[in-house]
Symmetry: C2
Subunit: 235 residues, 2 copies
DNA sequence: GCAACTAAACTGGTAAACCAATTTTTGAGA
DNA sequence: TCTCAAAAATTGGTTTACCAGTTTAGTTGC
């Protein structure tokens, strides 16, 4: 029986992971296949000797990764994925560490180079207005000598929101705040950078507007080049 | 006051979104800045006239996107991101729709072409063993005429787990099950495809092993080409 | 007047009780 | 024996009550 008390986030996650493993083991033991029903949350919490809330959180995480599916007043079911895949995925999920700054930047550049291409292909006139607004807000802040990290971010997110790919857009929303936080921590993005960035932002906007796909990508690449250097200098 | 009863997932999400908007409005109204403390969950639930659980779920979502930070026995705080960025992000987050199959495939290909490059650069001998095991499991299933979608998936996840970028790896884990589900729904991945895929998997493995970065990417590209065609035929 | 200690109030997290929809069981009627 | 409706049991979701740290206010001693 758990003795109670508040645990650190780390310990807490370990407990969740432990429950996830036990749920996976149970599915293996009972040879449950896609669509089969898991024992109820109450039974699981009793069998695993943890609180029902803890079980629910573990199920939530597995649901996030598409391995389980909860249906109200009915039960929790194995998703349309076999046990082999599930076992492999659980292992990888548990091994997943917190992303480091390098991973984040590497990923951001990958995503944005694709996004800017898609955006230039798929942008509507309404999208262009949004991007331009973000562009001008950034410019104004920089020229006033104010910190413009937020406006910079919003310019890039406006493009992501234009790319017509909700998965990519969602991923951008996920990683952007973490990158910003790191930027502030490491004092990336100085003033001299910002002035150069205005010009590049304008070029990107024009390329998207004119649907010059390849050019848009090239300028974005240049835009990130300085960033890259900063990051590796920091490291 | 809520009248009670079970709501559809759609209605439920709308309620969460509504609360998210109200929390954002409150932060604006009170001019809260990064690091400032939000009203307690109890006060929020009272002020917004919703249950505390609903407030907690909204906060969780905002925390997932890096906009808030909850600290046990202390409070919920505005993350290290200004209100401007927060307002923009909230708007984009709420506008984020469920990903369609096309978005998923488009994203998967982008991720995997990068991942296979990184994997070939960073793979350890231990990684190679894992990939090879996944490769052989896939081959065995296919040659036995059995369905091998799971093993195919695990081969690709083994590579993702090798790429040394936890953000990319996590994104792969997130989208892969959804893709599999769609594959099954649309009956992609026939038997004749699988036999071809074995050869390509072997080539990818060899390229990663020999650290032939560009070659690995090229083969992966070919590997996805058939998939692409299938998808657009379906559409 | 101020530093230091104490206690009361407050906080996010967790366990327990409750709810309504669903599923299963039951039994009456044909 | 079969059918079908009614009721009991079961389910995930929600509300409520409680917990142990944290923070703040108050008080004591100097």
């Amino acid at each position: 029986m758990k003795v109670g008390g508040v645990l650190s986030k780390n310990d807490n996650e370990e407990i969740h992971n432990k429950i996830i493993v036990q749920i996976a083991e149970l599915i293996n033991l009972k040879n449950l296949e896609p669509g089969d029903k898991l024992p109820s949350e109450r039974m699981l919490s009793e069998k695993l000797d943890v609180s029902r809330s803890a079980v629910r959180e573990a199920i939530n995480k597995l649901e996030y990764y598409g391995l389980l599916k909860s249906i109200p007043q009915s039960g929790t079911f194995v998703a349309n994925i076999g046990v082999t895949a599930m076992n492999g995925m659980v292992e990888y999920i548990l091994g997943l560490g917190d992303p480091d700054f390098k991973s984040l930047v590497e990923t951001r550049i990958l995503l944005e180079l694709k996004i800017v291409k898609l955006a230039s292909l798929r942008r509507t006139t309404e999208d262009l207005v949004n991007i331009k607004n973000a562009l001008e807000a950034y410019e104004e802040k920089v020229l006033n000598g104010e910190d413009a990290v937020q406006e910079d971010l919003l310019f890039h997110l406006a493009i992501a929101n234009t790319c017509g790919n909700s998965t990519l857009n969602g991923f951008m929303l996920k990683i952007t705040p973490e990158i910003i936080t790191n930027f502030k921590k490491y004092h990336v993005c100085g003033d001299e950078l910002s002035v150069v960035a205005i010009k590049e932002h304008k070029q990107i906007y024009e390329a998207i507007k004119n649907q010059e796909t390849q050019k848009a990508r090239e300028i974005m690449k240049v835009h990130f080049k300085t960033l890259y250097q900063y990051c590796y200098n920091i490291k």
